[in-house]
């Protein structure tokens, strides 16, 4: 994609993004918000998998940390804006603490360790008193700044997509920075990166913390939007869902993460509509969404390992120039 076309496409996307909350009804807005939140987390997962070459099966843990942080602060009477700001910070700090020992692990070891972290966290949240146990925290006040209080879903939609834009901007700057280009070497060969003098361990930790920050921010917005958080809101499947979205979009691509999140969310929503038609069995919604996550994940990993966005842009580039990709 050349620069001018990219700019035009970006402007178009921005315009549509801004216009949508005004025209969507409440149920569509809910999808729109959840989509944006999922995309926010997925950008981080995609960065982690594509640039640090590591799989996190526990990204939902940082989403939960963000949500619980904001919820606890808001319930304690801290202004919502401060609570929301604390959510990504808390997630980042936990990632630094957890990641320092954990990132000594690689591949499947790290995958299981991150999954274990999420399971431990959920189990703790379900048992501790101050997190509200299995019932969780309820009655979280609306988001607001000063005297302004968010009344409708449209406000949360703008908040979400502003957050996503911020996340994408940060990621873009990280990727195009000098360390970011060095990071690219990490995903392919850690030994080669290490021998060329890149501080592999520190970079991996930074990417891990950054991806947690994004998840924490999304979690913070989520808790104000829904008004409650509970362990049940952050099942293991949610972490797997982010991996599906990242893999579908193409690892290590910012727009890929957004496209992946959009595609999967819309697909699952569409099937949900289908599944709740009269005559369908009661289990149809969950069965269809499991089946979709699973089949999409398997098919993309096996047959489109670079993801949807890189595959399509390669096809476009080929058609335009009649040249093979790369």
């Amino acid at each position: 994609m050349n620069n001018r076309a990219g700019l035009a496409a970006g402007a178009l996307v921005a315009a549509v993004t801004l216009a949508l909350p005004a025209v969507l009804d409440d149920s569509a807005l809910a999808v729109y918000i959840l989509l944006g939140l999922a995309a926010m987390v997925t950008v981080g997962v995609s960065l982690l998998m594509g640039y640090a070459g590591q799989v996190s099966l526990g990204q939902g843990a940082f989403y939960a940390i963000g949500a619980y942080t904001a919820a606890l602060l808001a319930l304690a009477g801290v202004p919502p804006l401060a609570g929301l700001a604390a959510a990504p910070v808390a997630a980042a700090l936990s990632a630094l603490v957890i990641g320092t020992p954990l990132l000594r692990l690689r591949g499947h070891h790290l995958a299981f360790a991150t999954l274990a972290v999420q399971l431990i966290l959920l189990s703790l949240a379900g048992q501790l008193e101050f997190t509200g146990g299995d019932i969780g925290l309820q009655g979280i006040p609306q988001f607001g700044v000063g005297s302004f209080e968010a009344g409708g879903a449209a406000v949360y939609a703008y908040l979400t997509w502003a957050g996503l834009a911020l996340v994408m901007l940060v990621t873009r700057n990280v990727i195009t920075s000098r360390p970011g280009r060095a990071l690219r070497a990490l995903a392919t060969s850690e030994t080669a990166a290490a021998s060329s003098g890149i501080p592999v361990g520190r970079y991996k930790l930074v990417v891990f913390a950054l991806s947690a920050t994004f998840a924490g921010l999304a979690g913070g917005i989520y808790c104000f939007y829904t008004g409650y958080v509970a362990p049940g809101s952050f099942p293991v499947l949610i972490s797997i869902q982010y991996i599906v979205m990242a893999v579908v979009g193409g690892l290590g691509t910012i727009w890929g993460a957004v496209v992946g999140a959009t595609a999967i969310t819309l697909l699952v929503q569409g099937l949900d509509r289908l599944a709740s038609l009269p005559g369908m069995p009661t289990y149809a919604p969950s069965v269809l969404s499991y089946a979709v996550y699973a089949l999409v994940l398997i098919v993309v990993v096996l047959f489109m390992p670079r993801g949807l966005v890189p595959a399509i842009s390669a096809r476009l580039a080929k058609n335009r120039k009649e040249l093979p990709y790369r």
Binding site: R104, I120, Q127, Y283, A294
Partner: protein, 286 residues
């Protein structure tokens, strides 16, 4: 004292089930290099199959064996997805097995619903040194011991077992002598399915199984397998028994609410110690 013995034997039985899951993980990982996330799924499939077959009036024995075979088929299908395509890296294969596990959720809910199911096990109980032990626990321990002996004989004494070990030991050399490494990998997956299936069949009468029980099973199994660095079945067995006994003791003496955290924390600790030792070794020659 008798309570201690009861907890010990119950814990050993739970550990045995974990050990069977772990042995399946180890078998598959040794031959293919893939960590099979769907290993817990095989146990779930077998457990649910047994409960259905028994419910349909099939006799004990036939029901359990059929369920284990069904799990073996599930293992083979998982293998086809995970390593059937040339050039799939072990980490991609892990993600594919993750997908298979989620796909199994859909199938299991359609076939069995989303409520936990149980199956009658061996009835009755015996008194050992003043402790009352359910007979089924003894069955679990006996079957697991027999399975491990058979597994050792298979890998150590049979030509096919040695060929599987050869693939684990040096895949290139295995190809040089004409062994189809991919087919051996599929065999390992089928074997892993059978081992997971045995675990499921044994555990269903003790703890009801539902479609999402696989996460607990795989995490415990992986924790045990990690003790043996994912390659040594006997150490994995020891780790599993330790895990089972520790969890049961904790629950029995009133610390039950934190047993999962302790087990998982232990697993992470073992992995980190192993990783730092490994990197210390690999840095030496440099």
């Amino acid at each position: 004292m008798s309570a201690f013995l009861t907890y010990l034997l119950n814990g050993l039985a739970v550990g045995c089930a974990i050990a069977l899951i772990a042995s399946g993980l180890v078998t598959i990982h040794r031959v293919t290099g893939v960590v099979n996330f769907a290993q817990g799924t095989f146990a779930v499939v077998a457990g649910l199959c047994t409960s259905s077959l028994l419910g349909l009036g099939f006799p004990h024995g036939l029901s359990e064996v059929s369920a284990v075979l069904a799990a073996g088929v599930a293992g083979l299908l998982t293998g086809l997805a995970a390593i059937g395509r040339r050039g799939t890296t072990p980490l991609s294969s892990l993600i594919v097995t993750l997908g298979v596990g989620v796909l199994a959720y859909a199938v299991e809910i359609v076939l069995w619903g989303d409520q936990p199911r149980s199956a009658p096990g061996l009835a009755g109980s015996v008194t050992l040194a003043g402790a009352r032990i359910q007979t089924h626990y003894l069955l679990v321990i006996g079957v697991t011991a027999a399975t491990f002996v058979l597994l050792a004989l298979f890998f150590g004494r049979t030509y096919l077992g040695k060929a599987l070990t050869a693939c684990a030991s040096n895949p290139y050399a295995a190809r040089v002598v004409g062994i189809d490494v991919r087919r051996m990998g599929l065999l390992a997956f089928a074997l892993g399915g059978v081992l997971g299936g045995i675990a499921g069949v044994l555990v269903t009468p003790l703890r009801p199984i539902s479609f999402d029980t696989d996460v607990t099973l795989i995490v415990n199994g992986f924790a045990a397998a990690v003790f043996g660095a994912l390659t040594r079945p006997v150490i994995a067995l020891a780790g599993a028994l330790l895990l089972g006994v520790a969890e049961t003791m904790a629950a029995g003496y009133g610390y039950g609410s934190h047993q999962l955290e302790v087990a998982l924390g232990l697993m992470i600790l073992v992995m980190i110690v192993q990783a730092s030792r490994r990197s210390a070794i690999s840095e030496e020659p440099a």
